[in-house]
């Protein structure tokens, strides 16, 4: 368990580091080719952060509204309440607010910018179809997302995707509409060849970077899912509980009506059950269920 936790933490850290370096590489190249340099990076960062800030800060409210979840009181669902409270004690976190989605498809998610403003949402189907140890496994996974500040991590990844998209777009535009302002590299005798290569590399990167950025963002999301599985198993000290729950949820073929592409990444198992094949799986926010179950069974 400990090894899987630290392995996934390191993997997601390095992915973020790689992503950051990519962003800076793009910004430097952009600077070399158009002469706008750091100003462009700062502007792109400012725009991306501004756009993402609202959805980060109000992540809990937005997501609740989109899934039409209803708040629950202790007397209505004491079973769910007790499970969530018990795991909050185990994690050393304040108890998140509990919500229910009136849908028979089993699924769950958690959101919130920090543990104090967090929510846990489950579907009625989840409560009906899972037993106590399985439910504890699922809630422990969600609690781990909250503890790991995964909403913040995902927001950072989305911001970096935004920066890359903006920089790439500006780079391409500056080529086609302005020919680009070189910063005097050619006149300093570096030779026309080097400048030409730089231009080609720049164009290539400008076209490919948005795609690479999305792939990185999905890779980060998958590592965080593995990490939440490992942390969740650690909270309950019972990996088979979560493994059994994942098996049940993924075997259930009913689609979740409240989910769409925008919210799908939050759920414990991808509710849009249409992603198959190697290419599709690179764009998946969740690792394949078989891999997750295998990892849990190895603990």
């Amino acid at each position: 368990m400990y090894e899987q936790i630290s392995r996934n933490k390191w993997k997601s850290f390095f992915l973020v580091l790689f992503f950051l370096s990519w962003v800076f590489l793009l910004a430097w190249l952009f600077g070399e080719l158009t002469g706008f340099g750091t100003a462009a990076l700062i502007l792109a960062a400012a725009i991306a952060v501004a756009l993402a800030f609202g959805s980060y800060y109000y992540s809990d409210k937005i997501v609740l509204a989109m899934s039409r979840a209803k708040p629950v009181e202790k007397q209505d669902y004491p079973y769910l309440y007790n499970v969530v409270e018990g795991l909050a004690i185990a994690a050393g976190l304040p108890k998140p607010r509990c919500y229910i989605i009136d849908d028979t498809a089993p699924n769950a998610f958690a959101s919130g910018r920090n543990p104090k403003n967090s929510v846990v949402v489950v579907t009625k189907g989840l409560l009906e179809k899972l037993n106590r140890v399985e439910l504890e496994g699922v809630i422990a996974h969600e609690m781990s997302h909250i503890k790991n500040y995964d909403v913040l991590v995902q927001t950072l990844a989305v911001v970096m995707v935004g920066i890359v998209a903006l920089l790439s777009d500006w780079m391409l535009r500056s080529f086609f509409w302005g020919g680009g302002r070189r910063r005097g590299g050619t006149s300093r005798g570096k030779g026309g060849n080097a400048a030409a290569i730089l231009v080609v590399v720049g164009l290539l990167l400008a076209v490919l970077s948005p795609l690479i950025a999305q792939l990185l963002r999905f890779a980060i999301s998958r590592k965080r899912e593995f990490l939440a599985d490992a942390n969740g198993a650690f909270l309950t000290r019972y990996p088979p509980g979560l493994a059994s729950a994942l098996k049940k949820i993924s075997a259930d073929t009913e689609p979740l009506e409240a989910a769409n592409k925008a919210t799908a990444h939050l759920y414990i198992v991808n509710p849009l059950k249409d992603l198959k094949g190697a290419v599709n799986s690179m764009f998946s926010t969740h690792p394949p269920v078989e891999a997750r179950i295998a990892a849990l069974e190895k603990m």
Binding site: P78, Y79, Y81, N82, V83, E85, G86, L87, I89, A90, A91, G92, R237
Partner: protein, 184 residues
Amino acid sequence: MGIALVLLIALVVIVFIFVGFYNSLIGLRNRCDNAWSQVDVQLRRRYDLIPNLVETVKGYAKHEREVFQRVTEARSKAMNAESVKEQGEAENMLRGALKSLFAVVENYPELKANQNFLMLQEELAGTEGKVAYARQFYNDSVMKFNVKQQVFPSNIIARMFNFKEREYFEIEEAEAKGPVKVQF
């Protein structure tokens, strides 16, 4: 002149690092104390549930007086226990008394279906879980503190200021470690 300045800066940096170690040891130790008192909070909750449970069962099975007495006695013993050993023995008694209480319930199908009783049963199960999780969290906090107290270089500070290793919560009674026999 230059060397003296470098040495001074190095010294200041080292002092800051050591202060950091001291503060984190203090923080982790306090977390252990907090976690330990949280276990008591959950235990108290369990004790508070029991009178309600007894009253609900009494409503259907007035004559099973002996069982009710055992439960009530065991509960007050557990609440007033002063040493860890006393509490362990009282908890044992309480567990046995509750087992008999639930065995009695088996003979009264209307009681088993009673909403109030079901609610209390769920509460009791939930609270048992919370006691277990609170103890688990206490042990996790102790582990974090002990690690910091033992690794180099924070163990230097730990020794200087006499931070002692903390004990894990362990089950002492042999009966609790054995397999649970469910007999009706």
